[in-house]
Amino acid sequence: MNALTPLVAREAAREDSTPSLRPRAQREVFCGLTGIVWLHRKIQDAFFLVVGSRTCAHLIQSAAGVMVFAEPRFATAIMEERDLAGLADANDELDRVVDELLARRPDIRLLFLVGSCPSEVIKIDLSRAAARLSRKYTPALRVLNYSGSGIETTFTQGEDACLAALVAEAPAAAGGAGPSLLVVGALPDIVEDQFRRLFEAMGLPRVDFLPARRADDMPAIGPNTRFLLAQPFLGETAQRLETRGAVRLPALFPFGAEGTTAWLKAAADAWRVDAARFQAVIAPARERAKRAVAHHRQALEGRRIFFFPDSQLEPCLARFLIEELGMEGVEVSTPYLNKVLLAPELERLTAAVVESPDVDRQLDRCRAARPDLVVCGLGLANPLEAEGLTTKWSIELVFSPIHGFDQAGDLAALFARPLQRRALLRVAS
């Protein structure tokens, strides 16, 4: 494929070894707090209170790339010197901050206390605090906790931790509840509605989404729950669901015409939907997806793509781009590789996957490989553009509707646009 393949394979092989033997690497990935930026818009009556430092507050407001105009439903309880010196009791302080918050936002029904690096290091017990505050404010408000700390989570793992906390508290399905499908992972509302229509047309009796748009609508879970992950980064959530008896439907993730077909098919098979009916339901949307994707084939076919680690979506997106658009994968890296959840993806992926690489060594490989398109975080994109590489900011892949048939063309367009732009511009930098 190229001169760098051995290097990639070596790093990949090394990452296969046991964690304690992994070489130290300097990584450049957001922490799990970042997920708050979309989660607080998704659950419309939830508030996210980070218990952390000024850095945490600064991260969230900077990571979104824009400062949200409306008053956001997130905030930071910034720890100060007196909190650390033991002059103030962390629990008293937290209670006071939560009181202040609720006085301002009485409409909040669900409060997440979100742990951070400093709160984890000084071991503030947020689960006890959440239980205490829940008792205090019940039934007006439920209080849950999870950790978005950068010493334990990267970027999208924050959503995993948040949804896992929701699963732990979700109501149990009634004894005689019939089989129901649960779609897990925060999706744009429009995508959720599209999937719901398809499942209903297949005749599935009940479809729920986690997270629900409102705190009181979180779905019940029981042994008759079958769930589909809409995102590849929800390992802990999947485990918690399985602990509660729910059954995971393994599938490709719903990116592109093929991924979406396979994903929907997993549910159709679980409900023994007749093959002809399944085809009839998905055919129009699947054809639309293929047509929309085909528009971008010319721009992307044969082009070499290099993924820096960001959201854990990388292996799925690479599979889509290689299979459906004819791109060539140079290096596909991810901050964390869940080999169980991604087994169907990895079976089809023809490029090497590298887990949690060192950023400087990876930059060396990228520069040497000179790929046609580099998918990377905001910290790397402009510097690489300035070196003459064409880049796609990966954060846009988390902030845009990209799942399902009717977004497949948009997803391809996100990768085609930087190349088209470079071809259009007649000014040199």
């Binding site: 300097q26 990935v29 910034i78 100060e80 006071r96 950068g150 400087d360």
Partner: protein
């Protein structure tokens, strides 16, 4: 703990990054978890820098905490030296690393790297971004221009100064610097070193050669300038040349220290702002009520320019950086005000909603507040956003800076005659104030926050309410507040049309 929705300043290590990124050949090893790497995007995205900031994060994880995070820091220092070969290494900890107490300074020094190591202790739980930049700059200056160091040879017989303060991610620092250099050029004063922006370690060593220092941004450079006065006897120019009057004062102060004639620099044909302000078209700016908030230096300067060079009335003045609270309080007293010193965004929002100014001069935070309250706003200070790093030359300082201020502060306002027409024909179905100023986007104005009557016992009669809506939107909030205050002091429970006009005449300016 302190509840924060938005923050005006980042943590102090971001200040250190601003200094490191501004300089050449300086690399910062930051003991920090991986989430802290977000700070790179401030530079690569907001400021559109084309290089990664020279920062290596150790990115320790939970599983490292029981083990050897110290070794992690040392290997990061060694690898950084090998890979980047910097002329100096800054070493410090972010908030989380401060808690694990690894002593980055001692660990880095123990490596005996063949390069100077400057340790930073930035107190992440007490201090903030500007202080972090100031402290980092001070430590670098102390390290490379130590007391007693022989002044390096001068290369010129002309007066020689250092310009201190501009950094990476500074609000218009690039353009201010160009303007100030132009002024110095007209005065015949040479620039010895500009720092931190563009300076190398070698440049810092040459600092003592200058006759005096110019403190361009006191938040960042005051500590270093004071130290240079003590260590090397260099006096400092402290007038910040924002606005025409301050620019002239700056020129005279520099000329005095340099022993040159200020005349050539004072006589500036490009200084158009004074005439733009005196010309009759600007009459309608008279007494516009303006609220000013930002970092202390920019807020104080903006208030002075607003009052003395625009003829505005300053109705509120504040700053988020407590380190300079004394200066802001003194300035506010000059306008008969109590300064608002806070880094609580919600408190600033309350103050603005309460004062109902016609123009807000603030940071990106106040721009959001003003947008929500349907008020005109111009950004005068960091924190800034990508749009505050324009491609064009757009200084705040010097004569051209004064021209820029005139344009950017007046632009958001409704223009003179349009203001009258809106007041005359409020019910015009095509031309009315819900559309906003005619030269700005015609997007429907967001619904302003309902302003509850100051006292619950006061009621508006429906005719009075209708009359109130005939007052143009940019003064309606104030008229409402004034009328209610007037009614409250007179014990009037029901506001009639007459009350509205009584109040108007009472508060007439």
């Amino acid at each position: 703990m302190k509840l924060a929705v938005w923050t005006y300043e980042g943590p102090p290590h971001v200040g250190a990054m601003r200094v490191a990124t501004a300089m050449r050949g300086v690399h910062y090893v930051l003991h920090a978890p991986q989430g802290d790497t977000y700070a790179d995007l401030l530079f690569t995205m907001i400021e559109r820098r084309d290089e990664r900031p020279p920062v290596t994060y150790t990115t320790f994880q939970a599983r490292d905490l029981g083990g050897d995070t110290a070794e992690l820091l040392q290997s990061a220092c060694r690898e950084t030296y090998e890979r980047f070969r910097p002329d100096a290494l800054l070493v410090g900890a972010s908030c989380t690393a401060e808690l694990i107490q690894d002593d980055p300074a001692g660990l880095a020094k123990a490596l005996n790297l063949p390069v100077p190591v400057v340790p930073l202790e930035l107190s992440a739980y007490q201090k903030k971004e500007n202080w972090g930049a100031s402290e980092t700059f001070l430590q670098l200056v102390r390290a490379f221009a130590p007391k007693g160091a022989a002044a390096p040879p001068r290369r010129t017989t002309r007066p020689l100064c250092n310009i201190l303060g501009p950094t990476a991610l500074g609000f218009r620092h690039r353009d201010d610097l160009a303007e100030v250099k132009r002024l110095l050029g007209r005065l015949g004063v040479d620039v010895n070193v500009t720092a931190p922006l563009g300076a190398s370690v070698e440049d810092l060593r040459r600092l003592p050669a200058a006759d005096f220092n110019i403190v361009l941004y006191p938040e960042i450079a005051e500590a270093a300038a004071a130290w240079l006065t003590r260590a090397h006897g260099q006096p400092a120019v402290r007038t910040v040349p924002i606005g025409t009057l301050a620019t002239r004062a700056f020129i005279e102060e520099v000329a005095r220290l340099a022993g040159v004639d200020p005349g050539p620099a004072l006589d500036e044909p490009e200084a158009r702002a004074p005439w733009w302000s005196r010309s009759v078209d600007s009459t309608y700016l008279t007494g516009k009520r303006v609220f000013v908030f930002g970092d202390a230096t920019h807020a104080i300067a903006a208030a002075r320019v607003a009052a003395d060079e625009f003829g505005f009335k300053v109705v509120g003045l504040g700053a988020y950086n407590r380190e300079f609270a004394r200066e802001v309080r003194a300035a506010a007293e000059g306008y008969g005000l109590t300064a608002l010193i806070t880094d609580d965004y919600l408190e600033v929002e309350r103050a603005i909603a309460d004062l109902q100014p016609e123009l807000v001069l603030g940071t990106q935070m106040e721009r959001h507040i003003a947008k929500r309250l349907n008020m005109a706003c111009a950004v005068i200070s960091a924190p800034a956003h990508v749009q505050d790093y324009p491609a064009r030359h757009s200084p705040q300082m010097g004569f051209e800076g004064a021209n820029v201020l005139f344009d950017t502060w007046v632009h958001p306002l409704v223009m003179g005659l349009e203001e009258h027409l809106l007041a005359m024909f409020r019910d015009d179905f095509e031309f009315n104030d819900t559309a906003g100023p005619s030269h700005l986007n015609a997007a429907a104005a967001p619904a302003p926050h309902p302003t509850p009557a100051a006292a619950a016992s006061i009621v508006w009669a429906s005719e009075a309410q209708a009359e109130l809506t005939k007052i143009p939107f940019f003064v309606r909030g104030k008229a409402r507040r004034n009328t209610e205050d007037f009614a409250a002091t007179r014990g009037i429970a029901l506001i009639q049309v007459e009350t509205l006009y009584e109040a108007r005449s009472h508060f007439a300016r």
